[in-house]
């Protein structure tokens, strides 16, 4: 599939650019596809490109020496990843893996620098994108430092809940554990605990949220 101008327009990096400017940027964007489980980036390797998710979900994560995984962020359509090494010149700070079939746009590091020079609006957009990413990381540090696992899980369930009308990203217990910064076994116990409290129901392959307000309270989202 060719790179679509309409899709580029919806990417926060290129917000506010004219059609002519978007057209000039379009020539520097390459499409890449990946299958479920495929690695897109490996932590510690040289960074060569910025990636933007067009469809599907990509997990960005760190792995400990013992093999424990901590998901830093799940990247949804329109969002970018590998931004930091593109600007600071360092290696990839984390690995990235496709959670299902994904379509990505990539822009080479050298091309990003020329886009910034030619389109100052993009520099402002980059500052906004990086600020939002910093906020997300601070929120993750807060959750890992101060919240009990059940509260972290409650927050994850609320974040990933759909109304059943459209396909949503599904999560395995391992993935929930990697987001919550805990072990899979703890997630299994926490799910049972939430079910015991009557706020969710485990219904075969579905986790049904039966009391959203109670779950919000458990997640610390309301006082």
């Amino acid at each position: 599939m060719a790179v679509q101008l309409e899709l580029i327009k919806s990417i926060p990096y290129f917000s506010g650019l004219s059609t002519a400017e978007l057209d000039s940027v379009k020539g520097l964007i390459f499409e890449r596809q990946a299958e479920r489980g495929e690695f897109i980036l490996l932590e510690g390797e040289p960074a060569d490109a910025l990636y933007i998710v067009v469809s599907g979900i990509v997990k960005v994560f760190k792995t400990s020496a013992e093999g424990k995984e901590q998901i830093l962020q799940l990247i949804r359509p329109g969002d970018s990843f590998n931004d930091v090494p593109i600007f600071d010149g360092g290696a990839n700070p984390a690995s990235a893996q496709a959670m299902g079939p994904v379509v990505l746009y990539s822009i080479k590091k050298s091309d990003i620098h020329s886009i910034l020079r030619n389109h100052p609006q993009v520099a402002l957009n980059v500052a906004q994108v990086l600020s939002q990413k910093l906020r997300n990381l601070v929120s993750l540090v807060e959750d890992l430092s101060f919240k009990h696992v059940t509260a972290r899980l409650a927050k994850i369930l609320l974040e990933y809940a759909g109304d059943g009308s459209a396909p949503r990203q599904r999560l395995t217990q391992q993935e929930m554990a990697a987001i919550a910064g805990t072990a899979r076994e703890i997630i299994g116990r926490s799910l049972k605990e939430l079910e015991g409290e009557g706020v969710i129901r485990l219904d075969h392959h579905r986790i049904v949220i039966t009391d959203k307000e109670a779950l919000r309270r458990m997640a610390g989202l309301v006082t």
Binding site: R36, D163, S165, R170, H204, H205, V208
Partner: protein, 71 residues
């Protein structure tokens, strides 16, 4: 697709044919034949996720759909 016909995802490329998943499957819906894992009756699967938990290579996934009740 009916709810009970949902089955865990098997990534055959990653399966090493160890058979641990068959060993722990409490509903008897998994079989190992000539080193290939498959489901013999999707309706039996109770989504206990034990197969996913014991798989040493991450070849079986039991992803949950998270939904709000009554929507």
């Amino acid at each position: 697709m009916s709810q009970m016909s949902e089955i865990p995802i098997i990534v055959q490329d990653r399966c090493n044919g160890c058979g641990l998943c068959v060993n722990v499957c409490s509903c008897g819906s998994l079989v190992l034949f000539e080193d290939v894992i498959s489901f013999i009756d999707s309706g039996r699967c109770g989504w206990c996720t034990l197969c996913e938990a014991v798989c040493p290579t991450g070849a079986i996934c039991c992803p949950f759909e998270i939904v709000l009740e009554g929507r």
